[in-house]
Amino acid sequence: MSNTFLEVLNGELIEREKIPHLPFIEFRKNVLNIVKDGGKVVQYFAYQDGAAIKLMIVLRSNILLVAGCDAPESYPSLSKTCEPFHMFEREIAEQFGIRPEGHPWLKMVRYHSNYRNLPDVFGNDYTEDIPGNYNYYQVDGEEIHEVAVGPVHAGVIEPGHFRFNCIGERVLHLEIQLGYQHRAVENLFHDVEAKRLPILAENIAGDTSIGHGLCMAQAVEALTSVQPDTGAKIIRTIALELERLANHIGDLGALSGDVAFLPPANYFGRIRGDFLNLALLLCGNRFGKGLVRPGGVRFPLDDDIRKTLDERIKELKPQVEHVLDLLFSASTVRARFEDCGIVSNYDAEKLGLVGPAGRASGMAYDVRRCFPTEHYGQLDIFENKKTTCDVYARARVRYDEILQSINIIQSLINEPVETRGVNEISYNLQPSSFVVTLNEGWRGEVSHAVLTDKNGKILRYKVKDPSFHNWNGLAMALRDTGISDFPLNNKSFNLSYCGFDL
């Protein structure tokens, strides 16, 4: 492993001048070597520092590695030989107008003009209405047909465009074009008053309020040298597991609905709501908004709440187990889940999939085990990778994690550790510093990176939702799959549009 890069810990405060600032040629060479040896990209982004535009990268192997360089206006694309950079390079081109020459598929990520008022790399004129005004990838041939879906979908879901190129029922290629939800969240983080930061973080993706809230809180805690107490860490761990439970259970219900097995769909639909209500029990909001704050939590667990939580989980656990059994023992369900939408381990590695989608394709990575935060260091998080790489594997990962999360919560409820509710938060950030935080949200690795300037102002706030890695996994799953299996595959990934669109 390269020692030109600086090893950092998850959530560790780093002085920016300690981060190696390499010449671009050397930066590139090292990055490619680390990734070739199995390293994965956690963050790769550009930022403006005075008049200069710089790049920064965070890679992970069994450790986290950081380095930076001056950004060239254009450079030979890394994606050409190293696929995991594909989305990151497109994002940097869109945000800062830096062109990766020879990028295999250079197109916009979120449809917005760049931050430097340079001509758009993709040739878009954003004074006009752009979304949808784009030449989608086309397959030629007599019997080829296209199916266009979105941005407004048939259900109550977020907007995005899906373009299928099919021959008969068979999908040759699916192109996913998002960006419709773009709200410029990253820029808001350094433009708005500090008191708004927690609210912003919780609203990057509402179904991952705790995941993103934790990343932001841990970053601010590092930058202000404030540490949450043990009780707060336990409550935050419980909250993150409740979030995972509600979403995984909802996903399995939705998967069941998509193979027309309605009893589990309805039962899990209701049980998911019960778990959302447990988040409300903790903090007054079904999505856990308002709970996590830099320095701890706003709502301690009192004995009454502890008792109710314990009782509810005891009541729900057998119901969950029985419905899981109902779903997974139905041969009709197995027949539809198995061998559907395979993303091979090879492809998953190249795409850099994370979370349940990655584990279903044989990649064991789990932030809770590899770079533990909060109370996870004290917990035993088992490896949960699968080998079949199909919808069944993605469902089965959730099955195991649902039972695991219930056990984690049950083991933590009865530890009556005192904690103090946090109201006053310091935002006096350490100047000229850097911090990167990672947490295992229910979709996988959520990560925030923060750079401060010499006055302690936020210079760059970078957000990465796991969906940023995984959308291309869905596109890959659809290759050579029947178009009627799209809903099933889509649910088996259940990715975030708003977390991606920022």
Binding site: R110, Y111, H112, D129, I130, P131, P151, V152, A154, G155, V156, I157, E158, P159, Y180, Q181, H182, R183, A184, L188, K195, R196, P198, I199, E202, N203, I204, A205, G206, D207, S209, P263, P264, N266, G269, R270, R272, G273, L276, N277, L280, L281, L282, C283, G284, N285, R286, F287, K289, G290, F299, I305, H322, V323, L326, S329, G421, S496, C498, D501
Partner: protein, 247 residues
């Protein structure tokens, strides 16, 4: 087969009896805020300054529920002296300015448009458009279809096409990139049509106000009939809004 029946038996009947009975919500839920008039000016100012959404109007001693995300910061730091967030989830309004409140809300039933009740009272088909936002509002609209709430028993459904619908439910701060799609969906709905704004993003821009990529207030581009505040609104708030306004 046996497992299927056993599960059915275990699950039982789960649908709530709302609106006849109000289901209990956990104590920490924060619904309609009641302002305490005798709050000291200093405390009022401290709360207004700490409010992450700048939703407190000092002069009128009121909270703008269209901006508020119900985080409860003001209640906590004033130790309940400035405001109490009650367990009342029935907080929708037909006028945007009714959302600026000291705790008294005008009766939604009386302010709803009577011709809508006649037209849509027995059957209301809605198209939902998600226009930015964080997906929490969508999630809590979706749960209305689950057995506990069972929206369909009231003749209200979410449908797949604007052509089949009587109105539109909008969530999110209407991002620049969704504006055209939203307006086209609206145009595709046959007249007369209803517009419902769900969530603080849709009503005022919510957590994203100030962003150049969004529209601050759906009412600036479409005529909104019903405002359902919250971040996100509790499913029962949505249910109350729909039932009271149209039934």
């Amino acid at each position: 087969m046996f497992t299927t029946l056993k599960n059915r038996f275990e699950q039982g009947y789960r649908t709530c009896n709302y609106p006849k009975e109000k289901p209990a919500v956990f104590e920490r839920y924060r619904g309609r805020p009641i302002i305490h008039k005798d709050v000291s000016p200093e405390m009022l100012e401290t709360c207004a300054k700490a409010c992450p959404q700048d939703a407190i109007d000092i002069g009128q001693k009121k909270i703008d529920m269209g901006r508020c995300v119900f985080c409860g910061t003001c209640e906590q730091i004033s130790n309940g002296k400035f405001v109490t967030f009650t367990g009342d989830f029935e907080i929708s309004t037909s006028e945007k300015n009714h959302l600026l409140t000291n705790g008294d809300l005008p009766s939604l039933a009386e302010h709803s448009k009577q011709h809508f009740k006649k037209l849509f009272g027995r059957s209301l088909q809605l198209r939902q458009v998600s226009a930015g936002g964080c997906n929490a509002c969508e999630a809590d609209l979706n749960v209305l279809a689950t057995p506990f709430f069972d929206l369909a028993r009231f003749g209200i459904n979410f449908v797949a096409s604007p052509r089949h619908s009587d109105g539109i439910v909008v969530t999110g701060p209407v991002s620049k990139n969704m504006k055209t799609a939203l307006l086209k969906t609206y145009e595709a709905i046959p007249d007369p049509k209803v517009v419902i704004a769900v969530g603080s993003c849709t009503i005022t821009g919510g957590p994203f106000r100030g962003s150049p990529e969004i529209t601050e207030g759906l009412d600036s581009i479409l005529p909104v009939d019903l405002f359902i505040p919250g971040c996100p609104p509790h499913p029962l708030t949505n249910l109350h809004g729909l039932l009271t306004f149209f039934k």
